[in-house]
């Protein structure tokens, strides 16, 4: 941030742009490196990030608000998102079989449950914690570090979510038995 004049940058002033490029190219490079294949592609992604930033008269760059987050944080997010978009464009959409829940793959003759999930049964954070635990196979400590929360919060979120699910499915199973 320090020496970068954001207003001059948004006005498209060449010296400001050059200073910005010189200062943040390394950061963008580091952000996209884990997503890139070795070789030329890395440079392509970095160029795509810079192109996005200055495209349409610096439209994306003008959305940056220094009061909400640091420029490095924001740029890393932009760079990673750009890299993911590029990978998506190049690769056909493939879902690895391991990431599909077993229930989705089962071919049992059980009739499909006609259950409507109540909206908001689980909070977004509860869904996120369960997804990370059971689909990404992450450890509690890892999740806590990723979300910048206490490991105890992860455990309690998980606990509350499971209580809700158990209660919900218990009611549903009882109702089915009665029928």
């Amino acid at each position: 941030m320090d020496s970068i004049d954001l207003q001059a940058l948004a006005r498209g002033e060449k010296p400001a742009w050059d200073g910005f490029v010189r200062r943040y190219a390394g950061l963008i490079l580091a952000a996209v490196r884990p997503t890139a294949r070795p070789g030329v592609e890395l440079e392509d992604i970095v160029q795509e990030v810079f192109t996005r930033l200055c495209k349409d008269n610096f439209r994306l760059l003008k959305t940056y608000d220094p009061t909400r987050a640091g420029l490095s944080t924001w740029l890393t997010i932009v760079a990673r998102s750009t890299a993911r978009d590029m990978q998506r464009r190049r690769q056909p959409p493939i879902t690895p079989i391991d990431s599909v829940p077993e229930v989705m793959l089962s071919v049992t003759a059980e009739p499909h449950e006609k259950l409507r999930l109540p909206e908001g049964l689980l909070s977004p954070r509860q869904k996120l914690v369960l997804t990370l635990l059971y689909e990404r196979e992450m450890e509690v400590a890892e999740i806590a570090a990723s979300l910048s929360i206490d490991p105890q919060t992860v455990r309690s979120t998980h606990h509350k979510a499971m209580l809700k699910l158990r209660e919900h499915f218990a009611d549903h199973d009882t109702a089915r038995e009665v029928k």
Binding site: E13, P15, C54, T76, V103, T131, F169
Partner: protein, 173 residues
């Protein structure tokens, strides 16, 4: 977290719930919102929107982790910098900078007395060199013409037995 049996039960319950629920389509939050989330600057309501998207796109979680650890980035190669720099046309000169035309520096003027002294020194040197040269030339001429006159005189005498070695400075004679 819990014992294996309970964990397996929980996992099955989650999978059952997942199988029933449609993968909700949550619009991707903009980069500013994600960056603020990464820095923990969002209100609870705003954070919920981000977490709903993350639950549907868990692979993006690594972006947030990367965004929090941006210390000591590598130095980009000049080629990358040049390519990025070329994206924005224009002069690299700062706005408001003034171009000054090249003007040759005016010759430095020495004080008059120093100029006079310099010229006098040159003139004196030339005069000295001329005088020395002239005197050396005169001496050489005198020597040459003197020896020639003696030779002529000796030849004029026609004395037999006298040769030029007679006039040499050989002390043995």
């Amino acid at each position: 977290m819990a014992d294996k049996g309970v964990e397996a039960q929980d996992r099955r319950l989650w999978q059952r719930w997942r199988a029933l629920g449609e993968k909700s389509r949550v619009a991707e939050p903009d980069a500013m919102l994600l960056a603020a989330y990464a820095e923990g600057r969002l209100s609870e309501a705003e954070a919920e929107a981000v977490e709903a998207w993350l639950a549907a796109t868990p692979e993006a979680l690594s972006d947030l982790v990367a965004a929090r650890s941006t210390d000591h980035p590598p130095i980009a190669e000049e080629r990358i910098l040049d390519q990025a720099s070329d994206l924005v046309p224009g002069s690299t000169m700062p706005a408001g900078a003034e171009i000054l035309p090249f003007r040759p520096r005016p010759p430095q003027r020495l004080p008059q007395w120093r100029t006079a002294l310099a010229w006098s020194s040159i003139a004196a040197s030339l005069l000295c060199a001329s005088l020395v040269g002239f005197s050396m030339g005169s001496d050489a001429y005198a020597n040459l013409s003197g020896s020639q006159a003696v030779d002529t005189a000796v030849e004029g005498l026609g004395a037999p037995g006298l040769d030029s070695s007679y006039f040499s400075d050989d002390s043995s004679t």
